[in-house]
């Protein structure tokens, strides 16, 4: 019998062709029995990466636990667009308390489940980059350090979107936000030293840390599934483009997310007990410029005279990621 080579990736997109896979290997979203935990009808903007990421993440977690997920949400876009009273998109037990306490509230839920039996339920805390890397950072570190049985998911759209696109500690250098305007001698955000929360999570030696992207949803699902199979504190940091805040086309959300990965600006990796165990090897490395050009928040870099110096500095960040995370096949 002659063998026909199977092409798993559609040309140009790297998206897994689901229909070519056996049923049990297909994406959770491809399954008729997916739970639609974050149901349609919510009020996110078109092309919202956060809505997409949350939908995939929570459905994957539901499948991994036999539909036994309780979610605690920090204040932010995800919370607001999913639950304008009296409507809710959540098909799972879900609670929003405050902006900065999701990790602690989730730790409390986990403690109650431990004491009360809990019907095998598992707890997920989720929030934006602001609720995670800034105001919720203390509670997050506490939850890590105690190794509470919680998966924390950060949807990183690199600014405080819900309040109108202000800078957070996850905002990249040079990016224009409402509080780092593209004016003056150094337009956009400062070149600081950055704050890499996945690495900080690893420094707590928690059992599982991963980064993921809406550009690679199958990988995102797999990581969430893996995380749900582990007990203790776990952290997944998902890169989610925000058309409104980034000034990008809603149709380009996946493309931009992919360029962030393929340029090396957003490395995808997994770490177990504080050590990197897997990283996504770049297939076709692209210059950061390809990523930056599609977003109006970086438009000031590409005026009449492009700011080559700043672009080079951002390229250097990507190059450093490629080196330190070993993103390029040797």
């Amino acid at each position: 019998m002659t063998q026909q080579p199977v092409k798993f990736y559609q040309t140009g997109t790297f998206t897994v062709g689901n229909r070519l896979l056996p049923g049990d290997e297909r994406a959770v979203q491809a399954n008729m029995r997916r739970t639609n935990s974050l149901n349609s009808g919510h009020r996110a903007c078109q092309g919202c990466g956060e809505a997409l990421g949350a939908r995939y993440a929570i459905d994957a977690a539901m499948q991994a636990t036999g539909n036994r997920v309780i979610a605690i949400n920090a204040t932010g876009c995800l919370e607001v667009f999913s639950t304008p009273y009296p409507e809710t998109s959540w098909q799972i037990p879900w609670m929003h308390s405050l902006f900065g306490n999701a990790a602690a509230v989730a730790a409390g839920v986990a403690a109650a489940l431990r004491i009360k039996g809990g019907k095998g339920a598992k707890v997920i805390a989720q929030g934006g980059d602001g609720g995670t890397t800034d105001i919720g950072f203390g509670c997050l570190s506490g939850m890590f350090e105690r190794n509470d049985d919680v998966l924390y998911i950060c949807y990183d759209n690199e600014a405080y979107m819900n309040t109108g696109v202000q800078r957070s500690s996850a905002t990249p250098p040079a990016a224009r936000t409402a509080t780092t305007m593209s004016v003056g001698r150094h337009p956009g955000n400062v070149f600081g030293t950055g704050k890499n929360v996945p690495l900080i999570a690893m420094a707590h030696h928690i059992p599982y840390v991963a980064t993921a992207s809406v550009a690679n949803l199958r990988d995102l699902e797999a990581k969430v599934t893996r995380a749900m199979g582990v007990s203790g504190a776990r952290y997944i940091h998902i890169h989610v483009p925000c058309p409104l805040g980034w000034g990008s086309q809603p149709a380009d959300t996946i493309k931009i997310a992919r360029l962030a990965v393929e340029s090396g600006l957003f490395p995808l990796f997994e770490a177990v007990d504080g050590e990197v165990t897997a990283r996504y090897q770049l297939r076709r490395r692209v210059p950061v410029e390809d990523y930056l050009r599609l977003q109006r928040r970086f438009a000031h870099l590409f005026g009449a005279t492009p700011d080559t110096q700043t672009i080079a500095a951002i390229q250097a960040m990507a190059d450093r990621n490629v080196r330190t995370f070993g993103l390029e096949a040797a």
């Binding site: 009273y85 098909q91 037990p93 509230v105 989730a106 409390g108 109650a112 004491i115 509670c139």
Partner: protein
């Protein structure tokens, strides 16, 4: 069982008898002994089916309790002073979500200047957050109020603060009757939550609420407090029947029957005032005291009924609304609205300044002659204040006033002339 124990220990033992399921805490003087004792009891498995969680801040402590309470566990925490301010956002949140958490406050002043001693500024700062606030007069009552607090919180689905004077009660060794487990079990049924995060019946809790419904949700918090006005006395009655002693209730009157002057106070201060009143009664003065146990809800009708026949009312309070004056007296004046009873405010005991019988008697005697201002500051060192104000007038860069006042007091004590430092 009668025990000679520290107030904190008595509170911890009472909480333990309530079968808490999640306890979380962050240390702050004077609350520490309570949670240390509970931590030990959980570790020794003297409290069964209970998690003790050491958290990284008070904000996290109450947040953990919010999560555990929403997941159906009887939840407890304790704090004081800076701690309650640090958790302020979660204090409002727990009430807004209607979670029956019980929290002890070891009442302590709020800085700056930093000060670990007793007054009521801390819990008063959260008086409008939607929590029920009960003030304990003695260590026996502090212990007993916790047992009532869980029952009250869970019946109304509303959080309750039990306010206990820092050091004066928390660190005092006293004789306390600790009830038996059977007694407490007969009084406090299992926690049946009205809302719960349950995978079999998913609900969304804490959704975004706009102008169309926020008002009503907030009003329902007030409604719970109004219901508490009925429930608190009923629970106190039932407590008396089952435990054979008085604790809680809305207010308590002491020697008020024919009193012309009635003093109003909260917490352990009431004991000192009762002694002063006893002395004055012996000298023939018609004076009594009303102690307010339930500060939230504020029992307007009960306070009015207790005070309206008096010739004057003196509210002695360990808190101070800077820029206006009394806090408790505001409530008392509301209760007496339309009546002709003059109400005097005396701010006393801030930052742990001793409130002595001598000063109290002086205050009450002036009140009897109606020789008081509306707002009085008991034992405030006026001369020190005047000197500091004068110093500040003399030079722009006067420096921090707390340090200056301490220097001034030291100079006074040592006899070195002022200005020589």
């Amino acid at each position: 069982m009668l025990k000679q124990i520290e107030g904190s220990r008595a509170i911890a033992e009472a909480v333990a008898l309530c079968r808490p399921e999640v306890i979380c805490a962050y240390p702050i003087t004077p609350q520490t002994h309570i949670v240390e004792a509970l931590g030990e009891m959980v570790k020794k498995e003297e409290i069964e089916h209970c998690e003790f969680i050491n958290v990284e801040s008070e904000f996290a402590a109450l947040s953990v309790a919010i999560g555990s309470s929403a997941a159906g566990a009887r939840s407890y925490t304790a704090t004081a002073s800076q701690g309650i301010l640090f958790m302020a956002e979660a204090v409002y949140n727990a009430a807004g979500l209607g979670l029956p958490i019980v929290m002890t406050i070891g009442n302590r002043a709020i800085g700056a200047p930093i000060n670990i001693w007793n007054d009521h500024s801390d819990s008063m700062s959260m008086r409008d957050a939607g929590w029920i606030q009960l003030f304990a007069e003695t260590n026996q009552e502090a212990a007993d109020l916790h047992i009532q607090a869980f029952r009250l919180a869970e019946e109304l689905s509303c959080p309750v603060m039990v306010c206990v004077d820092g050091f004066i009660l928390t660190h005092a060794y006293d004789r306390v009757d600790i009830p038996t487990q059977q007694q407490v079990d007969a009084y406090l049924p299992r926690f049946e939550p009205v809302q719960i995060l349950d995978v079999d019946e998913p609900v969304s809790i804490g959704a975004m609420v706009g102008p169309d419904a926020f008002f009503e949700v907030r009003y329902l918090q007030h409604h719970k407090q109004l219901m508490a006005l009925d429930l608190i006395p009923r629970l106190a009655d039932e407590f008396r029947q089952k435990f054979g002693r008085d604790a809680g209730g809305l207010i308590r009157s002491y020697r008020c029957d024919d009193a012309e002057t009635i003093v109003v106070a909260l917490g352990s201060l009431v004991g000192t005032i009762k002694d002063a009143v006893d002395g004055m009664r012996e000298a023939g003065h018609r004076i009594g005291v009303v102690s307010i146990c339930s500060f939230r809800p504020f029992p307007l009708a009960a306070v009015r009924a207790a005070l309206v026949r008096a010739k004057r009312v003196v509210v002695v309070e360990k808190c101070f609304a800077v820029g206006i004056g009394g806090i408790v007296s505001d409530g008392v004046r509301k209760a007496l609205a339309g009546s002709q009873v003059p109400t005097y405010t005396a701010i006393a005991g801030l930052g742990g300044r001793p409130v002595t019988q001598k000063s109290l008697v002086g205050l009450f005697e002036s009140a009897q002659g109606d020789a008081l201002e509306q707002l009085n500051f008991l034992d405030l060192k006026r001369d020190v204040v005047e000197r500091e104000i004068a110093r500040g007038r003399k030079q722009r860069r006067a420096g921090p006033s707390a340090e200056a006042i301490l220097r001034d007091l030291r100079a006074l004590r040592s006899g070195i002339p002022l200005g020589a430092a």
